[in-house]
């Protein structure tokens, strides 16, 4: 019987729990082989680092392309053009960033501008360690920059103000959700759309509600096969099938069920009612992940500047 390891990020726990079972069944049905699928979850950056350091993964399913880029850059596990190997930029599902507020929206938060008002506490994880947080950051930046006619200065000013309103920086998306929901800290949580839905289901529709901003970012969590590992372990076939299965209607159904926006047009349509209609911009606005990562999140990047003393 075979075994593969999927190294993923925090908010996909529920999705892959179900998806793995489904794929194992599918695999058994098509090949007759028993398949055991192991998963590892954690902050997206940490997971990428583990893979680089030798965590023996067959596939990675991370929060953003730059984390897989980092793997390609810092190891020889997969080639730099990994993103071209699967449809839709190797992103079988997408998501976006929405706001989670307390029931009844007591602070009256409607859109991004409300987040930088004095006295509003915003909860987001640390962009240095969390993939989700980087999407949060870029979504806010993009909104402000667009509003000012594409001015980076406006974007920077906006996120600087925004992070002044952040009282707690957890290391991962899940930590932030707990802080917001369980500890009662903050007025608004910036969250993956699927996290927001999950939080409402798991932790109480009576306590929370989702606020959809006017504009947000199209978050594309990518997937990839780690060539070197699968070749060494002889699992290439099953690993590729595993990721391809994400693109099948079955896989897409499961993604949708867990509030990821499906890519396949017919399913996207089927679940359109489930997802609010937001104007979305994508990462290319920032010149792609490689540039965005370097400009904003690398050591000495814009995000670090926000936390320079005396500001």
């Amino acid at each position: 019987s075979g075994q593969i390891l999927n190294v993923s990020y925090d908010p996909t726990r529920e999705l892959y729990k179900e998806f793995n079972a489904a794929f194992a069944k599918h695999w058994k049905a098509t090949t007759g082989e028993e398949l055991e699928i192991k998963v590892s979850h954690g902050g997206s950056g940490k997971q990428a680092r583990s893979v680089i350091d030798g965590l023996d993964a067959d596939v990675v399913t991370l929060a953003l392309a730059s984390d897989i880029d980092a793997i390609a850059e810092n190891s020889d596990l997969l080639s730099k053009d990994w993103q071209a190997k699967l449809p839709y930029n190797s992103t079988p599902y997408t998501s976006t960033i929405v706001f989670l507020v307390r029931k009844g929206n007591p602070k009256g938060i409607k859109d991004w501008d409300d987040l930088v008002k004095p006295g509003i506490q915003v909860i987001t994880p640390n962009p240095k360690t969390s993939g989700g947080a980087r999407w949060n950051y870029l979504a806010a930046w993009g909104y402000a920059a667009d509003k000012a006619g594409g001015s980076d200065a406006a974007g920077k000013e906006f996120v600087t103000k925004l992070f002044k309103n952040v009282p707690v920086l957890d290391t991962g998306a899940r930590g932030s959700t707990t802080t917001f929901v369980q500890r009662g800290i903050g007025d608004v949580l910036l969250a993956w759309e699927n996290e927001a839905f999950l939080a409402i289901n798991e932790l109480g529709a009576d306590k929370l509600e989702i606020v959809v901003p006017s504009v947000s970012i199209l978050a594309e969590p990518p997937v990839a096969v780690l060539d070197k590992n699968v070749d060494r372990k002889g699992t290439r076939k099953v690993a590729e099938a595993y990721l391809t299965y994400l693109y099948t209607p079955e896989g897409q159904e499961l993604a949708a069920k867990h509030y990821y926006r499906p890519r396949l047009p017919q399913l996207a349509q089927k679940y359109a009612h489930q997802f609010p209609n937001i104007k979305l911009f994508d990462i290319n606005k920032f010149g792609g992940w490689t540039v965005a990562q370097k400009t904003h999140f690398a050591d000495g990047g814009v995000f670090d500047e926000i936390y320079k003393p005396g500001q």
Partner: protein, 284 residues
């Protein structure tokens, strides 16, 4: 007498009568080298690729400095709190009889045994604004969780047993005759404590303080849950190491690690000197 027996004579005259030195020393050094020294050497040589200037640049970044300041500052405050209250606890356990004393005594060691992550989660649950304790502090404007104060709380928790457990035996062995002698000479209870008891337990108190401090400086598991992790404010140095690691900045992570080691070492050295000074009467 042959040469060889002459040699063995020389050799055997200098040996100790208790056997097993070679074997046990061998085991000790081998294990120490494999488990501790080689891995730490790997840490120390890691930043070489960035050179000394790179190292200095890494550790003088404002965020690194702030984190180091927090880690060491909060650890210092926590150790100080433990010194004061730990002394009270030790005193209470040694000098007073009360119901449930044995149980209280046993629980002092809990922070040794309780996993730090569990402690972190539990403390956060308690001190969050809606927690058991936090709900009473919040209206007073006292925020514990997600502030440097929270870091101090977590570090106080993990350092708690050290002071108690180093002071307790010294207090137990403290000859009550000393106090009686002081009383006979006309000292008040307070004078007796300050002039007779305290100087004697001070070295032990210092040891406990140093141990609590050393443990607290590097603590990670219990702190990240309660700290809030705000850069420049409540971000501890070990977290910064983790963050740097996740940025694939190994040299940076190792640099911060080395900076912590060096600072801890200096700090412990100072405390050791202070301790030696405070026990100058013990040396012959």
């Amino acid at each position: 007498m042959t040469v060889s027996s002459g040699f063995s004579l020389f050799r055997r005259r200098n040996r100790s009568i208790i056997p097993g030195f070679g074997l046990t020393m061998g085991i000790t050094l081998t294990y120490l080298t494999l488990i501790v020294l080689i891995p730490l050497a790997a840490l120390v040589i890691r930043p070489w690729e960035i050179g000394l200037s790179g190292f200095l640049h890494q550790v003088t970044e404002p965020r690194v400095l702030a984190a180091l300041r927090l880690s060491f500052g909060a650890a210092f405050v926590a150790a100080a709190i433990n010194a004061v209250f730990g002394l009270a606890v030790a005193w209470m356990l040694v000098r007073y009889d009360f119901w449930g004393k044995r149980v209280v005594d046993a629980t002092v060691d809990l922070p040794f045994a309780l996993p730090t992550a569990v402690a972190g989660i539990a403390l956060t649950a308690l001190y969050a604004p809606n927690g058991w304790i936090g709900q009473f502090l919040d209206p007073l404007g006292i925020k514990v969780a997600y502030t440097p104060l929270g870091v101090v709380v977590a570090l106080t928790f993990i350092g708690l047993p050290f002071v108690v457990r180093t002071v307790q035996p010294v207090l137990e062995e403290l000859d009550t005759e000393l106090e009686e002698a002081a009383a006979c000479l006309g000292a008040t209870r307070f004078e007796t404590f300050m002039r007779v008891i305290f100087p004697v337990i001070f070295p032990a108190l210092l040891t406990g303080f140093a141990l609590a401090l050393a443990r607290a400086v590097g603590e990670y598991g219990s702190v990240i849950f309660i700290a809030g992790n705000m850069p420049m404010v409540s971000e501890i140095a070990p977290l910064l190491i983790v963050i740097k690691l996740e940025q694939f900045n190994y040299a940076g992570a190792a640099s911060v690690g080395i900076a912590m080691l060096i600072l801890s070492f200096i700090m412990l050295l100072v405390i050791n000197l202070l301790q030696r000074w405070s026990r100058r009467w013990a040396g012959v």
